[in-house]
């Protein structure tokens, strides 16, 4: 399905909220801007996840910079959490190690600042909700914005529980990336799209993070449904691990999110291996002028 990215009123020049939500005052959406830059080049965006503090804070900064220099348009830094219910064994092992190595939540702001100082990539933080609550939603948001962060991806927060976050993200001009799933009803899609800012994260399959040999066909339908619910930018993640899968998803989504495969590369070969895989993944992004755009 071809969707004009500008029908909703968001444009590449003034990237903003998802279509049906009111324009957010303050800074324009950094995530939307990054996706739109890729779109202007006729391709989908590459969004790369790594956990913070794995194995230490400096490596995460170096790794984030390497991601950006090798083709990542957006970077997701995950906060290691004691109870990561949406993560499979590879990411669990990495975040458990980060915590064991003494990771502290406040270092996330140093990591974000370190990456944004050196690159143009939009840097999002992916976090389960309790660490944000514990620091205070407003305080967390203030410090994230000050560090140059783009916003938050929130795997265990639904819009119904997000009133504090809606307020704080509005105040500091941060993106709110909520998830939609193949199980989401049309009503829920509409509500989630409306609450989102920057892009909507479409979960490719019913499951947790981890590499999968095939991308499920439900993802394409979910992207179409999410667009129909009013989303201007929909990115697909969960289970994407190689350039072929990136190419397939880039054919219908605005961005492709890769996590586990990168974490495994970082684990096995450090930052150089991470950089190589990122280059390879970005080769799967559609060239200009193909069917999706």
């Amino acid at each position: 399905m071809t969707v004009d990215p500008n029908v909703s009123g968001s444009t590449a020049e003034t990237p903003g909220t998802e279509s049906s939500s009111p324009e957010t005052p303050g800074a324009p959406s950094k995530s939307a801007a990054a996706i739109d830059r890729a779109r202007a080049q006729g391709r989908a965006a590459l969004i790369c996840y790594i956990p913070a503090g794995y194995p230490d804070v400096q490596t995460t900064i170096d790794a984030g910079i390497a991601l950006a220099r090798n083709g990542a348009d957006l970077i997701e830094i995950g906060i290691p959490y004691s109870d990561p219910v949406m993560d499979g064994s590879v990411i669990q092992a990495a975040t458990t190690e980060a915590i064991a190595n003494g990771f502290r939540v406040s270092s996330i702001f140093d990591i974000v600042a370190g990456i944004t100082a050196a690159t143009d990539a939009a840097v999002l933080v992916m976090t389960y909700w309790n660490p944000v609550l514990r620091l205070g939603v407003d305080e967390f948001s203030r410090r994230l914005a000050a560090a140059g962060g783009a916003g938050l991806i929130t795997p265990d927060l639904i819009p119904e529980e997000a009133s504090q976050w809606l307020e704080a993200s509005q105040k500091y001009g941060l993106d709110r990336v909520f998830l939609v799933a193949p199980s989401s009803t049309p009503e829920r899609l509409a509500r989630t799209v409306e609450a989102s800012r920057g892009f909507v994260y479409a979960v490719s399959i019913m499951g947790v993070t981890g590499t999968r040999t095939a991308v499920s066909s439900t993802a394409e339908q979910l992207v179409a449904d999410t667009r129909a619910a009013g989303a201007a930018r929909v990115c697909v993640g969960l289970g994407v691990s190689n350039a072929d899968q990136v190419r397939e998803i880039a054919g219908y989504a605005d961005g492709v999110i890769v996590g586990t495969a990168l974490v495994a590369a970082l684990r096995d070969g450090g930052v150089p291996a991470l950089a190589d895989l990122t280059t390879d993944l970005s080769s799967g992004l559609l060239p200009a002028g193909t069917e999706a755009h």
Binding site: Y81, S82, D83, P84, V85, M86, G88, S89, Q92, T96, I99, R104, V105, S106, W129, N130, P131, V132, L133, R134, L135, V137, P155, D156, L157, I158, E160, E161, A162, S163, Q164, F178, L179, V180, A181, P182, S183, S184, T185, R188, T192, V203, M206, G207, V208, G210, T211, R212, T213, G239
Partner: protein, 498 residues
């Protein structure tokens, strides 16, 4: 769902918990501020019930500022389906008749209310009555909830149930209900708990369930819940998550309570019949809070009845090794609900510790958090040592071996009895009901080691075998997960030749 309530009204004063080493100063804890023993609610007449109307049948999703649905979007549709099915079922005479029939003819309800006369001598001479959930089929209150939820699973057309278990009681109950109703059953159990409760692992397997030991994190109940949630996300079409306590995302807290309300209803009628009046106090242990909310519910609107929940104090709350969530935790979100939570400064869940696997959980059901804040229920910690003393006392004075979980309620009741009878001419005027949530068969090995009846090495050897077998299953599970098989358990079953 209702709109989100305002942010935390008052964060728990017990920041001291974060150091894991200090108790809150006198007068700052919830118990001290609102507990009946310190005067604010002494006569009960001015209790919160008088101000706010009935506390019974709270429907959720919120209990004050607690509860809600802090869950991945992938699971919201399943929670909605469950809520809808439950709301219809609870007013459906057919469903209620089915439950009543199973309770009576399968579980053996009503459970007895037994006066414990010799035990009572150690509780200041108050009259003590035990609500005998230990006599239920499968040995604990857990059966009440699993029968209800398994029936709902069938109504939803699901063919598979998954469960987490700590002590193994909920796992055994789930396996039992699954066998009875012809459902596939997979139980996630922390590897540490598999060791502590080796007999229950075998019991679940005998009942046809697959037990998957969980080796992540602290290898106890919270990690088993995480793993069950991961399974649920991947298999939600065919699978109902049979959560074992009154915690988690809406509708679980209100629904699990509904299935346990029978405990309080029976207990209230029985105590009226046996003594002609309401008790002065009702005591229960708190893991996630299901047995407690079940019995409390019968008395929530009786302002003269003081309600006490006893949390696991482990080695002592001052040591940091405990599971006294309400006493020392602070509000946060875990496993789908906002409630009190044992967490560090970064919001990471802190590992809990208790001799009792069923109480070894760093969270607590949201309705308890609310009842604590408003002062309707007092929550206090009981140490491992206090619980084991009470365990032995009940064995020797009444000929009843309690679950170690329930022994926390017994130990608490001893303290409450002594306090309430302190300046009474006739202590027998004071009546206390204790929810004896389960029997201690599963705990014989732990108790025997505690009391040096067998040498600890023999006990360790006895359970090593079970752990080895459990580890085999774990290896299967890991490879199933790595290969991207949607159902870890289906894979494990296949490998086990089931």
């Amino acid at each position: 769902m209702a709109t989100t309530p305002a942010a935390s009204p008052q964060d728990h004063p017990a920041d001291a918990f974060l150091s894991g080493a200090t108790r809150p100063a006198e007068g700052t804890s919830i118990d001290a501020a609102a507990g009946p023993d310190t005067g604010t609610r002494a006569d009960g007449a001015a209790g919160p019930a008088a101000r706010t109307g009935s506390f019974r049948h709270a429907a959720g999703p919120y209990f004050g500022s607690y509860g809600g649905r802090w869950m991945p979007e992938s699971l919201i549709a399943a929670l909605d389906e469950l809520e809808e099915t439950f709301e219809k079922a609870k007013v459906d005479p057919d469903f209620l008749a089915q439950i009543a029939d199973l309770n009576k003819n399968y579980s053996g309800r009503p459970s007895l209310l037994t006066e414990a006369k010799r035990f009572a001598l150690h509780a200041g001479g108050a009259r003590i009555f035990l609500k005998r959930e230990d006599l239920n089929h499968t040995g604990s209150h857990k059966i009440n909830n699993v029968l209800g939820q398994a029936l709902l699973a069938k109504r939803m057309g699901k063919t598979r149930v998954i469960a987490e278990t700590g002590a193994g009681q909920h796992g055994v109950a789930s396996a039992t209900a699954a066998a009875l109703l012809g459902l596939e059953c997979v139980v996630y159990m922390g590897a540490e708990d598999c060791r502590r409760q080796a007999l229950n692992v075998a019991r679940m397997q005998l009942l046809g369930a697959t037990v998957i030991p969980v080796t992540n994190g602290s290898q106890t109940l919270k990690d088993a819940i995480n793993e069950a949630l991961r399974d649920w996300v991947a298999n939600v079409d065919s699978t109902h998550y049979l959560l074992g306590t009154a915690a988690g995302a809406h509708p679980f807290p209100a629904m699990v309570r509904f299935f346990h309300e029978v405990i309080g209803e029976e207990a209230r009628a029985q105590i009226l019949e046996q003594t002609g009046r309401l008790p002065d106090a009702v005591c229960a242990c708190i893991g996630g809070g299901s047995n407690a909310i079940g019995i409390f519910h019968g008395f929530l609107d009786d302002p003269s009845v003081r309600l006490y929940g006893f949390e696991a104090g482990g080695d002592g709350v001052e040591t940091g090794r405990h599971a006294a969530t309400i006493t020392l935790g602070r509000p946060g979100v875990l496993h789908g609900a906002r409630s009190y939570l044992m967490q560090d400064e970064d919001g990471q869940t802190v590992e809990s510790h208790s001799i009792s696997a069923g109480l070894d959980y760093p969270g607590v059901g949201p309705e308890h958090a609310y009842l604590a804040d408003i002062g309707r229920v007092s929550y206090e910690p009981i140490t491992d040592a206090e619980a084991m003393d009470a365990f032995q006392l009940l064995c020797r004075t009444e000929g009843i071996i309690p679950a170690i979980e329930s022994a926390h309620a017994l130990a608490g009741a001893i303290k409450v009895g002594q306090r309430l009878t302190a300046d009474q001419a006739d202590p027998a005027e004071t009546i206390i009901v204790i929810n004896l949530s389960g029997r201690g068969d599963k705990d014989v090995e732990t108790a025997a080691a505690w009391f040096d009846l067998i040498d600890a090495e023999t006990a360790a050897e006895a359970s090593a075998e079970a752990v080895i077998r459990a580890a085999d299953t774990a290896a299967d599970q890991v490879s199933a997960a790595a290969s991207g098989t949607p159902s870890h358990a289906a894979e494990a079953n296949r490998r086990n030749g089931k």
